[in-house]
Symmetry: C2
Subunit: 148 residues, 2 copies
């Protein structure tokens, strides 16, 4: 059900950077706002730029910018990179070698859940998140100004 921490962090980072998608954000600024453990955040940012969601500007006054259009970056794309296992079609009972010739009573139901989640992730882009944030200020006010 819930995502691993790294995924949550990635979602929050990109959602935050979408607020002003065209400017660059330093790790320090993101840390100030999101309070993701600093050094882990550093590592994650370089991963996100290696996987081309961001590009980095090195040196003084450096930072990261979102690369590409917000509406083209779906949450599904992010999770594919950051936690690919999340999306694989797992057996409800955790069985590796089920033949799946005739499926058990949980199989289709669980596929339904998976489809439900996938649909949400595939249909929600950073543009949607940004728009949601503008409509009610939750992200700017609460979500993005956490206490330590």
């Amino acid at each position: 059900m819930k995502f691993n921490k790294t995924t949550e962090y990635a979602f929050r980072i990109l959602s935050y950077m979408a607020i002003e998608e065209s400017r660059s954000y330093s790790v320090d600024e993101i840390f100030e706002k999101l309070h993701i453990p600093y050094r882990y955040l550093r590592k994650l940012m370089t991963n996100l730029s290696k996987s081309n969601f961001l590009y980095s500007i090195q040196g003084k006054n450096g930072g990261y910018k979102i690369s590409g259009k917000l509406e083209d970056i779906k949450l599904l794309n992010l999770i594919e990179v950051v936690d690919p296992d999340y999306l694989v079609s797992n057996c409800f009972f955790g069985i590796e070698n089920c033949s799946r010739e005739s499926t058990c009573i949980m199989h289709d139901q669980w596929d339904g859940v998976r489809t439900h989640i996938n649909t949400i992730l595939a249909n929600t882009s950073l543009a949607d998140i940004k728009q949601g944030n503008n409509q009610n200020k939750i992200v700017l006010n609460t979500f993005h100004s956490l206490k330590t």
Copy 2:
């Protein structure tokens, strides 16, 4: 999305024991069939009897029996004991202290997923699993005779 191993194990154990709900099963027999790591299985069985899904018969010829009616044991009840965190209403973004005054764009969608899962777990009892197993032999044939 997927459950932790202990939950998967619990589901499989109880589903298996539901096949002949009235007799007792030794750990050795369950191990033979399900190939859950032996000593971990032992530990889990005593947990399941402490939480009253099973009761244990000690001594020679001992084992475990399902306690109560199959239709009264919902998967939800099991997971409540074995992985209570699974069901808590987690924020999509993993935020602890969101005020939730005005909810973000993901909130309701994610609640929908949670409700979906909860409905499945709350509505499926061991009796349903057993019935499903009888209709197509997946559990008996594949699911419950795994290789090491």
